[in-house]
Protein backbone atom coordinates (compact mmCIF):
# COMPACT_ATOMS: atom_id res chain seq x y z
CA UNK A 1 0.00 0.00 0.00
CA UNK A 2 1.24 3.50 -0.79
CA UNK A 3 2.29 5.54 2.22
CA UNK A 4 0.12 8.38 0.91
CA UNK A 5 -2.89 6.02 0.89
CA UNK A 6 -1.92 4.75 4.28
CA UNK A 7 -1.57 8.31 5.56
CA UNK A 8 -4.98 9.23 4.10
CA UNK A 9 -6.48 6.10 5.61
CA UNK A 10 -4.86 6.93 8.95
CA UNK A 11 -6.14 10.51 8.79
CA UNK A 12 -9.69 9.36 7.96
CA UNK A 13 -9.54 6.79 10.75
CA UNK A 14 -8.31 9.34 13.24
CA UNK A 15 -10.94 11.94 12.21
CA UNK A 16 -13.70 9.32 12.38
CA UNK A 17 -12.51 8.13 15.74
CA UNK A 18 -12.30 11.74 16.94
CA UNK A 19 -15.87 12.39 15.78
CA UNK A 20 -17.12 9.21 17.43
CA UNK A 21 -15.29 10.07 20.63
CA UNK A 22 -16.65 13.64 20.66
CA UNK A 23 -20.18 12.33 19.96
CA UNK A 24 -19.84 9.81 22.73
CA UNK A 25 -18.55 12.46 25.11
CA UNK A 26 -21.48 14.72 24.24
CA UNK A 27 -23.84 11.72 24.66
CA UNK A 28 -22.19 11.01 27.96
CA UNK A 29 -22.85 14.54 29.11
CA UNK A 30 -26.49 14.26 28.07
CA UNK A 31 -26.84 10.97 29.84
CA UNK A 32 -25.38 12.45 32.97
CA UNK A 33 -27.74 15.45 32.73
CA UNK A 34 -30.64 13.06 32.23
CA UNK A 35 -29.60 11.16 35.31
CA UNK A 36 -29.36 14.41 37.24
CA UNK A 37 -32.83 15.38 36.04
CA UNK A 38 -34.23 12.02 37.11
CA UNK A 39 -32.61 12.44 40.50
CA UNK A 40 -34.08 15.93 40.84
CA UNK A 41 -37.51 14.66 39.81
CA UNK A 42 -37.19 11.87 42.29
CA UNK A 43 -36.41 14.37 45.04
CA UNK A 44 -39.35 16.49 44.02
CA UNK A 45 -41.65 13.48 43.89
CA UNK A 46 -40.55 12.58 47.40
CA UNK A 47 -41.04 16.15 48.52
CA UNK A 48 -44.52 16.17 47.00
CA UNK A 49 -45.38 12.95 48.81
CA UNK A 50 -44.11 14.47 52.04
CA UNK A 51 -45.98 17.71 51.36
CA UNK A 52 -49.16 15.77 50.82
CA UNK A 53 -48.74 13.85 54.08
CA UNK A 54 -47.63 17.01 55.91
CA UNK A 55 -50.61 18.97 54.63
CA UNK A 56 -52.99 16.28 55.82
CA UNK A 57 -51.24 16.16 59.20
CA UNK A 58 -51.37 19.98 59.39
CA UNK A 59 -55.10 19.95 58.84
CA UNK A 60 -55.57 17.23 61.49
CA UNK A 61 -53.31 19.06 63.96
CA UNK A 62 -54.95 22.51 63.50
CA UNK A 63 -58.41 20.98 63.69
CA UNK A 64 -57.52 19.11 66.87
CA UNK A 65 -55.95 22.25 68.49
CA UNK A 66 -59.09 24.20 67.65
CA UNK A 67 -61.39 21.53 68.96
CA UNK A 68 -59.46 21.42 72.23
CA UNK A 69 -58.97 25.14 72.94
CA UNK A 70 -61.31 26.92 70.55
CA UNK A 71 -58.45 29.15 69.53
CA UNK A 72 -59.51 30.82 66.28
CA UNK A 73 -55.91 30.99 65.12
CA UNK A 74 -55.96 27.22 64.49
CA UNK A 75 -59.33 27.49 62.86
CA UNK A 76 -57.99 30.17 60.48
CA UNK A 77 -54.84 28.16 59.81
CA UNK A 78 -57.02 25.17 58.95
CA UNK A 79 -59.10 27.08 56.44
CA UNK A 80 -56.13 28.95 55.08
CA UNK A 81 -54.64 25.58 54.20
CA UNK A 82 -57.90 24.35 52.74
CA UNK A 83 -58.83 27.45 50.77
CA UNK A 84 -55.58 29.36 50.12
CA UNK A 85 -52.54 27.11 50.36
CA UNK A 86 -54.38 24.15 48.80
CA UNK A 87 -51.34 21.94 49.17
CA UNK A 88 -53.17 18.87 47.92
CA UNK A 89 -54.34 20.52 44.70
CA UNK A 90 -50.92 22.01 44.06
CA UNK A 91 -49.31 18.62 44.60
CA UNK A 92 -51.73 17.00 42.16
CA UNK A 93 -51.14 19.76 39.62
CA UNK A 94 -47.40 19.43 40.02
CA UNK A 95 -47.61 15.63 39.74
CA UNK A 96 -49.49 16.01 36.48
CA UNK A 97 -46.87 18.46 35.31
CA UNK A 98 -44.15 16.03 36.19
CA UNK A 99 -45.94 13.36 34.22
CA UNK A 100 -46.70 11.06 37.10
CA UNK A 101 -48.33 7.85 35.93
CA UNK A 102 -52.15 7.80 36.03
CA UNK A 103 -52.27 5.03 38.61
CA UNK A 104 -50.28 7.20 41.03
CA UNK A 105 -52.54 10.21 40.30
CA UNK A 106 -55.50 7.94 40.83
CA UNK A 107 -54.21 7.15 44.32
CA UNK A 108 -54.04 10.90 45.11
CA UNK A 109 -57.53 11.34 43.70
CA UNK A 110 -58.59 8.46 45.88
CA UNK A 111 -57.10 10.15 48.96
CA UNK A 112 -58.78 13.39 47.99
CA UNK A 113 -62.09 11.65 47.54
CA UNK A 114 -61.68 9.90 50.88
CA UNK A 115 -60.92 13.24 52.62
CA UNK A 116 -64.55 14.37 52.26
CA UNK A 117 -65.62 12.14 55.14
CA UNK A 118 -62.89 13.52 57.33
CA UNK A 119 -63.76 17.12 56.36
CA UNK A 120 -67.34 16.37 57.28
CA UNK A 121 -66.16 15.15 60.72
CA UNK A 122 -63.99 18.21 61.13
CA UNK A 123 -66.85 20.52 60.08
CA UNK A 124 -69.03 18.82 62.74
CA UNK A 125 -66.23 19.32 65.28
CA UNK A 126 -65.93 23.01 64.30
CA UNK A 127 -69.73 23.38 64.67
CA UNK A 128 -69.51 21.78 68.11
CA UNK A 129 -66.77 24.26 69.10
CA UNK A 130 -68.91 27.08 67.81
CA UNK A 131 -71.70 25.74 70.02
CA UNK A 132 -69.23 25.54 72.90
CA UNK A 133 -69.60 21.79 73.05
CA UNK A 134 -65.91 21.00 73.38
CA UNK A 135 -66.70 17.57 74.70
CA UNK A 136 -68.35 16.57 71.44
CA UNK A 137 -65.72 18.37 69.40
CA UNK A 138 -62.89 16.41 71.14
CA UNK A 139 -64.75 13.14 70.82
CA UNK A 140 -65.20 13.79 67.11
CA UNK A 141 -61.59 14.81 66.57
CA UNK A 142 -59.91 12.19 68.73
CA UNK A 143 -62.35 9.34 68.35
CA UNK A 144 -61.68 6.10 66.60
CA UNK A 145 -63.89 7.23 63.68
CA UNK A 146 -61.59 10.11 62.98
CA UNK A 147 -58.58 7.86 63.06
CA UNK A 148 -60.30 5.44 60.72
CA UNK A 149 -61.26 8.21 58.30
CA UNK A 150 -57.82 9.65 58.54
CA UNK A 151 -56.39 6.24 57.74
CA UNK A 152 -58.40 5.87 54.50
CA UNK A 153 -56.82 9.15 53.36
CA UNK A 154 -53.31 8.29 54.42
CA UNK A 155 -53.36 4.72 53.03
CA UNK A 156 -53.52 5.76 49.34
CA UNK A 157 -51.02 8.50 50.07
CA UNK A 158 -48.59 5.95 51.52
CA UNK A 159 -49.41 3.67 48.64
CA UNK A 160 -48.66 6.55 46.28
CA UNK A 161 -45.38 7.21 48.04
CA UNK A 162 -44.43 3.56 47.89
CA UNK A 163 -45.30 3.20 44.21
CA UNK A 164 -43.62 6.46 43.37
CA UNK A 165 -40.54 5.46 45.33
CA UNK A 166 -40.26 2.11 43.70
CA UNK A 167 -40.82 3.66 40.24
CA UNK A 168 -38.25 6.35 40.92
CA UNK A 169 -35.76 3.82 42.21
CA UNK A 170 -36.17 1.89 38.96
CA UNK A 171 -35.74 5.02 36.86
CA UNK A 172 -32.64 6.05 38.79
CA UNK A 173 -31.15 2.56 38.47
CA UNK A 174 -31.90 2.63 34.74
CA UNK A 175 -30.28 6.05 34.42
CA UNK A 176 -27.28 4.79 36.35
CA UNK A 177 -27.10 1.80 34.04
CA UNK A 178 -27.29 4.13 31.04
CA UNK A 179 -24.51 6.27 32.47
CA UNK A 180 -22.39 3.23 33.14
CA UNK A 181 -22.92 1.94 29.61
CA UNK A 182 -22.09 5.33 28.16
CA UNK A 183 -19.04 5.60 30.38
CA UNK A 184 -17.89 2.12 29.36
CA UNK A 185 -18.44 2.85 25.68
CA UNK A 186 -16.72 6.21 25.87
CA UNK A 187 -13.76 4.86 27.79
CA UNK A 188 -13.42 1.98 25.34
CA UNK A 189 -13.63 4.30 22.37
CA UNK A 190 -11.06 6.70 23.77
CA UNK A 191 -8.77 3.79 24.54
CA UNK A 192 -9.25 2.43 21.01
CA UNK A 193 -8.64 5.92 19.65
CA UNK A 194 -5.35 6.22 21.49
CA UNK A 195 -4.22 2.69 20.55
CA UNK A 196 -5.20 3.01 16.89
CA UNK A 197 -3.59 6.44 16.58
CA UNK A 198 -0.37 5.31 18.19
CA UNK A 199 -0.30 2.10 16.13
CA UNK A 200 -0.85 3.99 12.90
CA UNK A 201 1.90 6.43 13.80
CA UNK A 202 4.21 3.54 14.63
CA UNK A 203 3.32 1.70 11.45
CA UNK A 204 3.68 4.81 9.34
CA UNK A 205 6.75 6.43 10.69
CA UNK A 206 8.74 3.72 12.39
CA UNK A 207 8.10 0.59 10.36
CA UNK A 208 7.20 2.04 7.01
CA UNK A 209 9.39 5.14 6.87
CA UNK A 210 12.16 5.49 9.42
CA UNK A 211 13.53 1.93 9.39
CA UNK A 212 13.48 1.54 5.55
CA UNK A 213 14.98 5.01 5.09
CA UNK A 214 17.81 4.20 7.48
CA UNK A 215 18.53 0.90 5.72
CA UNK A 216 18.44 2.45 2.24
CA UNK A 217 20.69 5.30 3.41
CA UNK A 218 23.15 2.82 4.93
CA UNK A 219 23.21 0.77 1.71
CA UNK A 220 23.79 3.95 -0.35
CA UNK A 221 26.63 4.96 1.95
CA UNK A 222 28.23 1.56 1.30
CA UNK A 223 27.71 1.91 -2.45
CA UNK A 224 29.24 5.40 -2.40
CA UNK A 225 32.20 4.02 -0.44
CA UNK A 226 32.74 1.64 -3.37
CA UNK A 227 31.92 -1.58 -1.56
CA UNK A 228 31.02 -4.34 -4.00
CA UNK A 229 27.85 -6.48 -4.01
CA UNK A 230 25.67 -4.09 -2.01
CA UNK A 231 21.96 -4.78 -2.60
CA UNK A 232 19.54 -1.88 -2.09
CA UNK A 233 16.72 -3.11 0.22
CA UNK A 234 12.96 -2.49 -0.25
CA UNK A 235 13.14 -2.25 -4.06
CA UNK A 236 10.14 -4.57 -4.34
CA UNK A 237 8.05 -2.24 -2.11
CA UNK A 238 4.91 -0.74 -3.70
CA UNK A 239 5.01 2.48 -1.69
CA UNK A 240 7.11 5.66 -1.84
CA UNK A 241 9.91 3.87 0.04
CA UNK A 242 9.82 1.27 -2.73
CA UNK A 243 10.07 4.07 -5.33
CA UNK A 244 12.90 5.66 -3.36
CA UNK A 245 14.67 2.28 -3.13
CA UNK A 246 14.20 1.75 -6.89
CA UNK A 247 15.63 5.20 -7.56
CA UNK A 248 18.54 4.39 -5.25
CA UNK A 249 19.07 1.07 -7.04
CA UNK A 250 19.01 2.86 -10.39
CA UNK A 251 21.51 5.37 -9.04
CA UNK A 252 23.65 2.53 -7.77
CA UNK A 253 23.51 0.77 -11.13
CA UNK A 254 24.41 4.01 -12.94
CA UNK A 255 27.26 4.57 -10.52
CA UNK A 256 28.52 1.05 -11.09
CA UNK A 257 28.22 1.44 -14.84
CA UNK A 258 30.16 4.68 -14.60
CA UNK A 259 32.82 2.99 -12.51
CA UNK A 260 32.95 0.14 -15.04
CA UNK A 261 33.18 2.69 -17.84
CA UNK A 262 35.99 4.51 -16.06
CA UNK A 263 37.81 1.21 -15.59
CA UNK A 264 37.29 0.34 -19.25
CA UNK A 265 38.50 3.80 -20.29
CA UNK A 266 41.60 3.51 -18.17
CA UNK A 267 42.21 0.05 -19.57
CA UNK A 268 41.66 1.34 -23.08
CA UNK A 269 44.02 4.23 -22.46
CA UNK A 270 46.65 1.88 -21.02
CA UNK A 271 46.14 -0.43 -23.96
CA UNK A 272 46.53 2.49 -26.38
CA UNK A 273 49.66 3.61 -24.59
CA UNK A 274 51.02 0.07 -24.81
CA UNK A 275 50.13 -0.12 -28.47
CA UNK A 276 51.73 3.25 -29.20
CA UNK A 277 54.81 2.17 -27.27
CA UNK A 278 54.92 -1.15 -29.13
CA UNK A 279 54.51 0.55 -32.50
CA UNK A 280 57.10 3.14 -31.62
CA UNK A 281 59.49 0.36 -30.66
CA UNK A 282 58.70 -1.52 -33.87
CA UNK A 283 59.24 1.65 -35.91
CA UNK A 284 62.47 2.46 -34.10
CA UNK A 285 63.66 -1.09 -34.66
CA UNK A 286 62.75 -0.87 -38.33
CA UNK A 287 64.60 2.45 -38.62
CA UNK A 288 67.65 1.06 -36.87
CA UNK A 289 67.54 -1.98 -39.10
CA UNK A 290 67.21 0.19 -42.18
CA UNK A 291 70.10 2.43 -41.11
CA UNK A 292 72.25 -0.62 -40.40
CA UNK A 293 71.26 -2.12 -43.71
CA UNK A 294 72.21 1.07 -45.58
CA UNK A 295 75.51 1.31 -43.76
CA UNK A 296 76.39 -2.34 -44.16
CA UNK A 297 75.43 -2.57 -47.81
CA UNK A 298 77.34 0.58 -48.70
CA UNK A 299 80.37 -0.83 -46.94
CA UNK A 300 80.03 -4.39 -48.19
CA UNK A 301 79.42 -3.23 -51.75
CA UNK A 302 82.38 -0.91 -51.69
CA UNK A 303 84.87 -3.24 -50.00
CA UNK A 304 85.13 -5.86 -52.78
CA UNK A 305 85.41 -3.12 -55.40
CA UNK A 306 88.22 -1.42 -53.51
CA UNK A 307 89.92 -4.80 -53.09
CA UNK A 308 89.44 -5.76 -56.72
CA UNK A 309 90.76 -2.44 -57.99
CA UNK A 310 93.86 -2.82 -55.85
CA UNK A 311 94.26 -6.47 -56.86
CA UNK A 312 94.03 -5.49 -60.51
CA UNK A 313 96.80 -2.96 -59.90
CA UNK A 314 98.82 -5.78 -58.38
CA UNK A 315 98.09 -7.90 -61.47
CA UNK A 316 99.34 -5.06 -63.65
CA UNK A 317 102.51 -4.70 -61.55
CA UNK A 318 103.07 -8.45 -61.65
CA UNK A 319 102.75 -8.57 -65.39
CA UNK A 320 105.27 -5.73 -65.67
CA UNK A 321 107.52 -7.59 -63.24
CA UNK A 322 106.96 -10.71 -65.34
CA UNK A 323 105.63 -12.55 -62.34
CA UNK A 324 102.65 -14.47 -63.83
CA UNK A 325 102.16 -16.50 -60.65
CA UNK A 326 101.52 -13.41 -58.64
CA UNK A 327 99.25 -12.07 -61.36
CA UNK A 328 97.18 -15.26 -61.33
CA UNK A 329 96.91 -15.29 -57.53
CA UNK A 330 95.77 -11.68 -57.53
CA UNK A 331 93.27 -12.37 -60.28
CA UNK A 332 91.97 -15.30 -58.27
CA UNK A 333 91.38 -13.07 -55.26
CA UNK A 334 89.81 -10.42 -57.49
CA UNK A 335 87.48 -13.04 -58.92
CA UNK A 336 86.54 -14.24 -55.44
CA UNK A 337 85.85 -10.66 -54.37
CA UNK A 338 83.68 -10.04 -57.42
CA UNK A 339 81.87 -13.38 -56.95
CA UNK A 340 81.05 -12.33 -53.42
CA UNK A 341 79.91 -8.97 -54.65
CA UNK A 342 77.66 -10.79 -57.05
CA UNK A 343 76.34 -13.03 -54.28
CA UNK A 344 75.73 -10.00 -52.08
CA UNK A 345 73.89 -8.21 -54.86
CA UNK A 346 71.78 -11.30 -55.48
CA UNK A 347 70.86 -11.49 -51.81
CA UNK A 348 70.03 -7.79 -51.65
CA UNK A 349 67.88 -8.23 -54.72
CA UNK A 350 66.23 -11.24 -53.11
CA UNK A 351 65.59 -9.20 -49.99
CA UNK A 352 64.01 -6.41 -52.02
CA UNK A 353 61.89 -9.03 -53.76
CA UNK A 354 60.85 -10.59 -50.47
CA UNK A 355 59.70 -7.23 -49.16
CA UNK A 356 58.36 -5.66 -52.35
CA UNK A 357 57.38 -8.32 -54.85
CA UNK A 358 53.67 -8.50 -55.61
CA UNK A 359 52.89 -12.15 -55.57
CA UNK A 360 49.61 -14.04 -55.53
CA UNK A 361 49.22 -16.98 -53.18
CA UNK A 362 48.71 -20.31 -54.89
CA UNK A 363 47.79 -23.81 -53.76
CA UNK A 364 51.05 -25.52 -52.96
CA UNK A 365 51.97 -28.90 -51.53
CA UNK A 366 54.90 -28.63 -49.15
CA UNK A 367 56.44 -31.94 -50.26
CA UNK A 368 56.56 -30.71 -53.87
CA UNK A 369 58.30 -27.47 -52.88
CA UNK A 370 60.81 -29.31 -50.67
CA UNK A 371 61.67 -31.89 -53.32
CA UNK A 372 62.25 -29.14 -55.89
CA UNK A 373 64.45 -27.25 -53.40
CA UNK A 374 66.52 -30.40 -52.82
CA UNK A 375 66.83 -30.80 -56.57
CA UNK A 376 68.24 -27.25 -56.86
CA UNK A 377 70.59 -27.79 -53.89
CA UNK A 378 71.91 -31.02 -55.38
CA UNK A 379 74.24 -28.94 -57.58
CA UNK A 380 75.94 -27.39 -54.56
CA UNK A 381 79.42 -28.51 -53.58
CA UNK A 382 79.28 -31.07 -50.75
CA UNK A 383 75.65 -32.07 -51.31
CA UNK A 384 76.70 -35.59 -52.27
CA UNK A 385 78.22 -36.10 -48.81
CA UNK A 386 74.89 -35.51 -47.07
CA UNK A 387 72.46 -38.30 -46.38
CA UNK A 388 69.04 -36.78 -46.82
CA UNK A 389 66.01 -38.10 -44.95
CA UNK A 390 62.49 -36.91 -45.71
CA UNK A 391 59.49 -37.26 -43.44
CA UNK A 392 56.87 -35.25 -45.27
CA UNK A 393 53.74 -36.04 -43.30
CA UNK A 394 51.83 -33.02 -44.50
CA UNK A 395 50.39 -33.39 -47.97
CA UNK A 396 47.35 -31.09 -47.95
CA UNK A 397 47.65 -28.17 -50.36
CA UNK A 398 48.27 -24.80 -48.69
CA UNK A 399 47.53 -21.37 -50.11
CA UNK A 400 50.97 -19.73 -50.04
CA UNK A 401 53.24 -17.32 -51.89
CA UNK A 402 55.57 -19.70 -53.67
CA UNK A 403 58.72 -17.56 -54.09
CA UNK A 404 58.76 -16.64 -50.37
CA UNK A 405 58.45 -20.27 -49.36
CA UNK A 406 61.26 -21.15 -51.77
CA UNK A 407 63.51 -18.49 -50.18
CA UNK A 408 63.02 -20.26 -46.85
CA UNK A 409 63.52 -23.83 -48.09
CA UNK A 410 66.45 -23.01 -50.41
CA UNK A 411 68.35 -21.06 -47.75
CA UNK A 412 67.81 -23.64 -45.01
CA UNK A 413 68.84 -26.52 -47.28
CA UNK A 414 71.85 -24.72 -48.77
CA UNK A 415 73.01 -23.77 -45.25
CA UNK A 416 72.86 -27.43 -44.26
CA UNK A 417 74.95 -28.28 -47.33
CA UNK A 418 77.49 -25.45 -46.89
CA UNK A 419 78.00 -25.64 -43.14
CA UNK A 420 78.59 -29.34 -42.67
CA UNK A 421 80.83 -30.33 -39.81
CA UNK A 422 84.02 -31.71 -41.42
CA UNK A 423 84.63 -33.84 -38.34
CA UNK A 424 81.23 -35.49 -38.66
CA UNK A 425 81.67 -38.92 -40.31
CA UNK A 426 78.07 -39.18 -41.47
CA UNK A 427 76.64 -35.74 -42.17
CA UNK A 428 72.92 -35.78 -42.65
CA UNK A 429 69.94 -33.58 -43.33
CA UNK A 430 66.44 -34.40 -42.18
CA UNK A 431 63.41 -32.54 -43.47
CA UNK A 432 60.07 -33.02 -41.81
CA UNK A 433 56.61 -31.57 -42.29
CA UNK A 434 53.69 -32.02 -39.93
CA UNK A 435 50.67 -30.29 -38.59
CA UNK A 436 49.49 -29.79 -35.01
CA UNK A 437 47.34 -27.30 -33.10
CA UNK A 438 50.07 -24.63 -33.44
CA UNK A 439 50.02 -24.85 -37.23
CA UNK A 440 51.94 -26.44 -40.07
CA UNK A 441 55.64 -27.01 -39.38
CA UNK A 442 58.54 -27.36 -41.78
CA UNK A 443 61.49 -28.64 -39.77
CA UNK A 444 65.02 -28.74 -41.19
CA UNK A 445 67.64 -30.34 -38.98
CA UNK A 446 71.27 -31.25 -39.58
CA UNK A 447 74.34 -32.38 -37.65
CA UNK A 448 76.49 -29.59 -39.06
CA UNK A 449 78.51 -26.81 -37.43
CA UNK A 450 75.51 -25.23 -35.73
CA UNK A 451 75.46 -21.69 -34.42
CA UNK A 452 77.91 -20.60 -31.67
CA UNK A 453 76.00 -20.35 -28.39
CA UNK A 454 76.94 -16.70 -27.79
CA UNK A 455 75.60 -15.71 -31.22
CA UNK A 456 72.34 -17.67 -31.15
CA UNK A 457 70.25 -14.61 -30.23
CA UNK A 458 71.36 -12.97 -33.52
CA UNK A 459 70.79 -16.04 -35.66
CA UNK A 460 68.19 -14.30 -37.86
CA UNK A 461 69.96 -10.91 -37.80
CA UNK A 462 71.22 -8.89 -40.74
CA UNK A 463 74.80 -9.43 -41.96
CA UNK A 464 75.42 -12.17 -39.44
CA UNK A 465 78.05 -14.67 -40.50
CA UNK A 466 78.97 -17.45 -38.16
CA UNK A 467 81.46 -19.55 -40.12
CA UNK A 468 83.50 -17.13 -42.27
CA UNK A 469 86.22 -19.69 -42.98
CA UNK A 470 83.92 -22.51 -44.03
CA UNK A 471 81.99 -20.69 -46.70
CA UNK A 472 81.38 -17.18 -47.77
CA UNK A 473 77.92 -15.79 -47.16
CA UNK A 474 76.52 -12.32 -47.41
CA UNK A 475 75.18 -12.68 -43.87
CA UNK A 476 71.72 -12.04 -45.25
CA UNK A 477 70.51 -15.62 -45.78
CA UNK A 478 68.74 -16.28 -42.46
CA UNK A 479 67.57 -12.68 -42.35
CA UNK A 480 65.92 -13.32 -45.71
CA UNK A 481 64.42 -16.52 -44.29
CA UNK A 482 62.92 -14.66 -41.35
CA UNK A 483 61.52 -11.87 -43.55
CA UNK A 484 60.03 -14.42 -45.95
CA UNK A 485 58.43 -16.33 -43.08
CA UNK A 486 56.85 -13.08 -41.90
CA UNK A 487 55.44 -12.42 -45.37
CA UNK A 488 54.04 -15.97 -45.31
CA UNK A 489 52.32 -15.16 -42.02
CA UNK A 490 54.55 -17.60 -40.19
CA UNK A 491 57.42 -17.57 -37.73
CA UNK A 492 60.95 -18.94 -37.70
CA UNK A 493 62.62 -20.54 -34.73
CA UNK A 494 66.01 -22.05 -34.04
CA UNK A 495 67.01 -24.85 -31.70
CA UNK A 496 70.55 -25.78 -30.82
CA UNK A 497 70.83 -29.56 -31.06
CA UNK A 498 74.31 -29.65 -29.56
CA UNK A 499 75.66 -31.46 -32.62
CA UNK A 500 73.74 -29.47 -35.18
CA UNK A 501 70.87 -27.11 -35.80
CA UNK A 502 67.13 -27.30 -36.07
CA UNK A 503 65.27 -24.61 -37.99
CA UNK A 504 61.50 -24.58 -37.82
CA UNK A 505 59.09 -22.66 -40.00
CA UNK A 506 55.63 -22.57 -38.41
CA UNK A 507 52.81 -21.46 -40.69
CA UNK A 508 50.13 -20.03 -38.41
CA UNK A 509 47.29 -22.05 -37.00
CA UNK A 510 45.66 -24.31 -39.61
CA UNK A 511 43.71 -22.42 -42.24
CA UNK A 512 45.31 -19.06 -41.46
CA UNK A 513 48.54 -19.39 -43.41
CA UNK A 514 48.63 -17.22 -46.52
Amino acid sequence: MQIATLTRFAAITIVTLTAITVTLLVGMRTTLQEELAILRTEAEFRQLGNDLAAASDLLTREARYYSVGGDRTHYDAFWREVNETRTRDNVVARLRELGAPPEELALIEEAKANSDALIATESAAFAAVADGDFERARSLMFGPAYDRDKEIIMAPIRDFEERMNSRLLGEVAEAREEVNRALFLTTGTVLAYVIVTLSLLFLLFIRRVTVPLTRITDALDDVAAGEPDIAIPYTDGKDEIGSLAKAAAAFKSTLEQNRELARALIEHRDHLEDEVAARTTALTDANTELAEFAYRTSHDLRAPIVSSARLLSVVEESIRDEDPQEALTSLGYARTALDRLDKLLQDILALVKVERLEEDAEWIRLDDVLREALQRASHLEGFERLSVELDLGHDDPLLLKRSRLEVVTDNLISNAVKYQNPEQPSPHLRIETREDEAGVHVIVRDNGLGIPVEQQDKVFGMFKRFHPRTSFGSGLGLYLVKKSAEVLGGTMSFEDLGDGSLFRLTLGPPGEAT
Binding site: Y295, R296, H299, D300, R302, A303, P304, V306, S307, S308, A309, R310, L311, V314, T329, S330, Y333, A334, T336, A337, P452, Q455, K464, R465, F466, H467, P468, R469, G475
Partner: protein
Protein backbone atom coordinates in the same frame (compact mmCIF):
# COMPACT_ATOMS: atom_id res chain seq x y z
CA UNK B 1 110.81 3.78 -31.63
CA UNK B 2 112.19 0.48 -32.77
CA UNK B 3 111.29 -1.06 -36.10
CA UNK B 4 108.39 -3.53 -36.01
CA UNK B 5 109.25 -7.13 -36.81
CA UNK B 6 105.95 -8.95 -36.49
CA UNK B 7 102.53 -7.90 -37.81
CA UNK B 8 99.13 -9.52 -37.24
CA UNK B 9 96.64 -8.94 -40.07
CA UNK B 10 93.04 -9.40 -38.90
CA UNK B 11 90.65 -9.50 -41.87
CA UNK B 12 87.88 -11.83 -42.96
CA UNK B 13 88.62 -11.25 -46.60
CA UNK B 14 91.47 -13.40 -48.00
CA UNK B 15 92.02 -10.92 -50.83
CA UNK B 16 92.55 -8.10 -48.37
CA UNK B 17 94.79 -10.29 -46.21
CA UNK B 18 96.85 -11.09 -49.31
CA UNK B 19 97.09 -7.43 -50.33
CA UNK B 20 98.12 -6.28 -46.86
CA UNK B 21 100.70 -9.04 -46.53
CA UNK B 22 102.09 -8.31 -49.98
CA UNK B 23 102.38 -4.59 -49.25
CA UNK B 24 104.11 -5.30 -45.92
CA UNK B 25 106.57 -7.77 -47.49
CA UNK B 26 107.39 -5.39 -50.29
CA UNK B 27 108.27 -2.86 -47.62
CA UNK B 28 110.17 -5.26 -45.34
CA UNK B 29 110.79 -8.83 -46.41
CA UNK B 30 111.94 -9.77 -42.91
CA UNK B 31 108.55 -9.07 -41.33
CA UNK B 32 106.74 -11.97 -39.72
CA UNK B 33 103.12 -11.84 -40.83
CA UNK B 34 100.35 -13.54 -38.85
CA UNK B 35 96.73 -13.66 -40.04
CA UNK B 36 93.34 -14.06 -38.42
CA UNK B 37 89.85 -14.12 -39.94
CA UNK B 38 88.07 -12.32 -37.16
CA UNK B 39 88.42 -10.93 -33.63
CA UNK B 40 88.07 -14.26 -31.91
CA UNK B 41 90.74 -15.87 -34.03
CA UNK B 42 92.95 -12.82 -33.47
CA UNK B 43 92.67 -13.28 -29.69
CA UNK B 44 93.61 -16.95 -30.08
CA UNK B 45 96.61 -16.04 -32.22
CA UNK B 46 97.74 -13.44 -29.67
CA UNK B 47 97.51 -16.01 -26.93
CA UNK B 48 99.19 -18.86 -28.79
CA UNK B 49 101.75 -17.30 -31.17
CA UNK B 50 105.39 -17.77 -30.14
CA UNK B 51 106.30 -14.38 -31.49
CA UNK B 52 104.00 -11.60 -30.35
CA UNK B 53 103.12 -8.98 -32.97
CA UNK B 54 104.31 -5.37 -32.59
CA UNK B 55 101.56 -4.17 -34.89
CA UNK B 56 98.00 -5.33 -35.40
CA UNK B 57 96.23 -4.34 -38.63
CA UNK B 58 92.57 -4.59 -37.72
CA UNK B 59 89.60 -4.68 -40.08
CA UNK B 60 86.28 -3.49 -38.58
CA UNK B 61 83.62 -5.46 -40.46
CA UNK B 62 84.07 -9.08 -39.57
CA UNK B 63 81.79 -11.95 -38.61
CA UNK B 64 81.60 -13.47 -35.12
CA UNK B 65 83.71 -10.83 -33.33
CA UNK B 66 84.11 -7.58 -35.22
CA UNK B 67 86.85 -4.96 -34.84
CA UNK B 68 85.14 -2.94 -32.13
CA UNK B 69 84.32 -6.05 -30.09
CA UNK B 70 87.93 -7.17 -30.46
CA UNK B 71 89.18 -3.78 -29.23
CA UNK B 72 86.90 -3.94 -26.19
CA UNK B 73 88.11 -7.40 -25.32
CA UNK B 74 91.74 -6.52 -26.06
CA UNK B 75 91.58 -3.47 -23.83
CA UNK B 76 89.74 -5.36 -21.09
CA UNK B 77 92.35 -8.12 -21.03
CA UNK B 78 95.29 -5.66 -21.45
CA UNK B 79 97.06 -8.31 -23.47
CA UNK B 80 99.97 -6.49 -25.14
CA UNK B 81 100.37 -3.01 -23.74
CA UNK B 82 103.15 -2.04 -26.15
CA UNK B 83 101.52 -3.22 -29.34
CA UNK B 84 100.33 -0.65 -31.86
CA UNK B 85 96.90 -1.20 -33.33
CA UNK B 86 96.14 0.17 -36.78
CA UNK B 87 92.54 0.07 -37.93
CA UNK B 88 92.44 -0.86 -41.59
CA UNK B 89 88.93 -0.35 -42.86
CA UNK B 90 87.21 0.12 -46.19
CA UNK B 91 84.95 2.67 -44.48
CA UNK B 92 85.87 6.34 -44.42
CA UNK B 93 82.74 7.24 -42.47
CA UNK B 94 83.35 9.66 -39.60
CA UNK B 95 81.30 7.45 -37.25
CA UNK B 96 83.53 4.47 -37.84
CA UNK B 97 86.65 6.56 -37.39
CA UNK B 98 85.49 8.16 -34.16
CA UNK B 99 84.24 4.78 -32.90
CA UNK B 100 87.82 3.53 -32.81
CA UNK B 101 89.61 6.60 -31.48
CA UNK B 102 88.01 6.11 -28.04
CA UNK B 103 90.38 3.17 -27.63
CA UNK B 104 93.80 4.26 -26.33
CA UNK B 105 95.52 1.33 -28.03
CA UNK B 106 94.44 2.49 -31.52
CA UNK B 107 97.25 4.55 -33.05
CA UNK B 108 96.16 4.94 -36.65
CA UNK B 109 93.12 4.71 -38.84
CA UNK B 110 93.82 3.77 -42.45
CA UNK B 111 91.25 3.51 -45.21
CA UNK B 112 91.87 0.49 -47.50
CA UNK B 113 93.83 -0.30 -49.54
CA UNK B 114 96.99 -0.32 -47.44
CA UNK B 115 99.71 1.37 -49.47
CA UNK B 116 103.46 1.43 -49.09
CA UNK B 117 103.40 5.12 -48.19
CA UNK B 118 101.40 4.37 -45.07
CA UNK B 119 104.00 2.01 -43.71
CA UNK B 120 106.89 4.16 -42.40
CA UNK B 121 104.63 5.90 -39.97
CA UNK B 122 102.92 2.67 -38.99
CA UNK B 123 105.95 0.42 -38.68
CA UNK B 124 108.22 3.08 -37.18
CA UNK B 125 112.04 3.02 -37.17
CA UNK B 126 114.48 5.17 -39.19
CA UNK B 127 114.93 2.88 -42.09
CA UNK B 128 112.28 4.31 -44.35
CA UNK B 129 112.17 3.00 -47.89
Amino acid sequence: MTRATCVLVVDDNEGDQYLAARTLRKFDEALTILTAYDGEEALEVLEQAAKKPDIILLDLNMPRMDGIEFLEEYQRRAILPHTTIVVLSSSDLADDRSGTTVFDCVQHYVVKPLLTRHLPEILGGDDAH
